[in-house]
């Protein structure tokens, strides 16, 4: 307990520098701003805003990114409640009752409960990270290369199993992602791979062009083709943010239950926070005394899933911070940002970069406070932003992306690469692929190859080496089990049903 306070104290001393507070605020503000643009989800928001953090020192950059992430999440809730436009799948649930409330003129109430619920969930989940991270990373330091390889493989396959769509397609995305991570100079032998004669590819593909193209551009293109003007019309006015006492009585237990559900499911790779939001909604509906209100503006149907979503978004950081293994596209981009700043993600970060680690943990909480400060008083501003026609917004986003992609390393080639990944992302989307596992595999590809090679070298090529390490065996068996279950038609149908519910 004492060490917990010592750690948090260290974090506060880092996060409470004027500079870092500012980065946290700026991140949350910009994240909400971009995330509130209709049709731009949190992943696209982070991809778009990632480059502006590269000017900062690593700690400041991560703090700002975390702020951007929470801001983007809340921006997504705004569009879900006010416009019935979910920025990502996890806020689909929020649209059900949140938008119903907005149509009844209770938009302010829904937004306030969403913000305060997210804050409570964020606070609890942050404490959870602070408690769980040190022992976990200590445990992870005893990992052998074989364990690492097996764990990363398990994470990737689990991500494909928990993501919407056919598992076979998810596996294809994993393969493509690992392949793309291999482009460039092979660290072991120094030879060039798949650079296709472009000297600019010798350093490999950057995570910014990849994520920005796959999520940002592809998303804008499909949005534009669906409705050339996305201004969907606001549902009612946001006149006040008052929440009645009766609403609180129903919302508070839902918030706490949502936090519990979301924290646990958020640990799962892939779409943990999506599962959390859906599971929380179903749970609330099941135990409610007024299940008939759900779908017609039940406050618990907003409070629960929003809290679950935010708690899951937070605990998703645990595998990334303690193992260096990202579990979704957002944390994958954070790992990319760490690498750009010269920090190798892994269990050693917590001791080797203790200031960064605890500063980030505390910033997560501060980010949640910022959101309350930014969102509740500034709600009028966000509403006005929602009213800007998309035809004016998207060229601005394009320009921002161009400058962002260019400014990472002042390379015009990166801008072209972004456009290329935009085309690829569009094509993949049309063919029914979900690009999330690709980004995950892209970030994990290089360490996976390295660990596999190291394991093989240490064991002189004996694949039986995996059986000398019980942890690796457990991970591999779990991977195999998932693969068999996912690819067998009978199990696959049950899984599709479970996920689509």
């Amino acid at each position: 307990m004492n060490t917990l306070f010592a750690h948090l104290g260290q974090g506060f001393s880092v996060a409470f520098s004027l500079e870092n507070l500012f980065f946290c605020f700026a991140g949350a503000f910009l994240g909400t701003l971009v995330g509130a643009l209709p049709g731009v989800g949190p992943i696209a928001t982070i991809a778009i805003l990632l480059p502006i953090t590269f000017q900062l020192d690593p700690t400041g950059a991560l703090i700002m990114l975390a702020g951007i992430y929470y801001g983007a999440q809340y921006g997504g809730s705004l569009t879900a409640i006010l416009l019935n436009l979910p920025g990502e799948i996890s806020s689909v649930v929020t649209t059900i009752d949140g938008h119903a409330m907005a149509r009844q003129g209770r938009a302010g109430e829904a937004l306030a409960v969403a913000a305060i619920g997210s804050f409570i969930a964020g606070t609890i989940a942050t404490l959870l990270i602070a408690v769980a991270a040190p022992p976990l990373s200590l445990f992870a330091q005893s990992f052998h290369p074989t364990d690492y390889f097996a764990l990363m493989l398990l994470g990737l396959i689990l991500a494909t199993a928990l993501t919407q769509g056919a598992m076979l397609k998810g596996i294809a995305m994993v393969l493509l992602g690992v392949f793309l991570s291999l482009v460039g100079t092979d660290v072991t032998s120094g030879s060039l791979r798949y650079t296709m004669g472009f000297p600019m590819l010798a350093d490999g593909i950057g995570v910014v062009p990849l994520a920005m193209g796959l999520f940002g551009i592809a998303e804008i293109a499909t949005n534009l083709e669906k409705h050339s003007d996305m201004r969907a019309g606001l549902a009612g006015k946001v006149s006040h943010l008052r929440v009645t006492r009766e609403s609180w009585r129903r919302a508070i237990p839902a918030i706490l239950r949502g936090t519990g559900i979301g924290s646990v499911l958020g640990l799962l790779p892939g779409s943990g926070n999506i599962l959390g939001a859906f599971a929380s909604y179903l749970a609330e509906k099941k135990i409610s005394k007024h299940p008939e209100e759900f779908g017609h503006g039940a406050i618990a149907g907003v409070a629960g899933p929003e809290s679950a979503n935010n708690a899951g978004a937070q605990t998703a950081f645990i595998p990334m911070l303690t193992l260096g293994i990202p579990s979704n596209a957002v944390t994958a981009m954070m790992v990319g940002a760490l690498v750009i700043h010269g920090i190798t993600p892994g269990p050693q970060v917590i001791t080797a970069n203790a200031d960064l680690f605890w500063g980030l943990v505390v910033s997560m909480w501060i980010g949640n406070v910022m959101l309350l400060i930014i969102n509740l008083p500034l709600i009028g501003l966000w509403v006005r932003i929602l009213d800007i026609p998309y035809r004016f917004l998207f060229p601005a986003i394009v320009l921002f992306c161009c400058i962002g992609a260019y400014a990472v390393s002042y390379s015009a080639f990166d801008v072209m690469l972004t456009a290329f990944f935009g085309l690829l992302g569009y094509l993949l989307k049309k063919l029914g692929f979900e690009p999330m596992p690709l980004v995950l595999a892209f970030v994990l590809g290089a360490p996976m190859e390295e660990n596999l090679r190291r394991a093989m070298l240490l064991s002189r090529g004996d694949p039986m080496v995996f059986f000398d390490h019980p942890m690796a065996v457990v991970f591999l068996i779990a991977t195999l089990g998932l693969l068999i279950m996912g690819l067998m038609p009978r199990f696959a149908r049950a899984r599709d049903k479970a996920i689509s519910e």
Binding site: Q164, R391, F394, P395, V398, C402, L423, M456
Partner: protein, 159 residues
């Protein structure tokens, strides 16, 4: 993350979307595997730079064939609809114009060209409106990024 193109695809007797997806993966897998053969494959003990890529190429082919067969035998969604390629083309040209112009032309020119071309992604603006909008927006970007954020970008073309 937005939902995949169609959440509840109408089920056709032949799933052309999966057939196309399978062919795409097959082509990618073959290309990757063939190129891997030019690299040093090495042995399982000392894996060369081509070892993993070859494996990935082969696995992509396997997954591609499985998807293709699944689409042929079990049916599924039909070919995806491409209502208009205009937005995608406009965005791509916008990025390309920015990439070409940012070096020699500076931020103002590249920004203007990028915004101007990308704006054609929607049909709802007149050319004049688009041009004015592009001028204003690139000026704002110049002030924001170069003057305020101090990015080392040139504003104007060098003569």
């Amino acid at each position: 993350m937005s939902a995949p193109e169609s959440d509840t695809p109408e089920k056709n007797r032949i799933g052309l979307r999966d057939v196309a997806a399978g062919l795409f993966l097959l082509a990618a897998g073959i290309a990757i595997a063939i190129a891997a053969l030019d690299l040093n494959l090495g042995t399982p003990v000392r894996m060369g730079s081509g070892f993993l890529p070859l494996g990935i190429g082969v696995l992509l082919c396997v997954v591609g064939v499985a998807l293709l067969l699944g689409g042929l035998l079990h049916g599924g969604a039909g070919l995806p609809a491409f209502p208009t390629l205009r937005p995608l083309a406009a965005l791509t040209f916008g990025f390309a114009a920015f990439a070409v112009l940012i070096g020699p032309g500076g931020l103002v020119l590249a920004g203007f060209a990028g915004i101007f071309l990308a704006s054609f992604g929607t049909q709802q603006k007149s050319v004049v409106e688009t041009a004015i909008f592009a001028v204003v927006l690139s000026a704002v970007a110049a002030v924001l990024f170069v003057v305020l954020l101090d990015l080392p970008l040139r504003l104007w073309p060098t003569l």
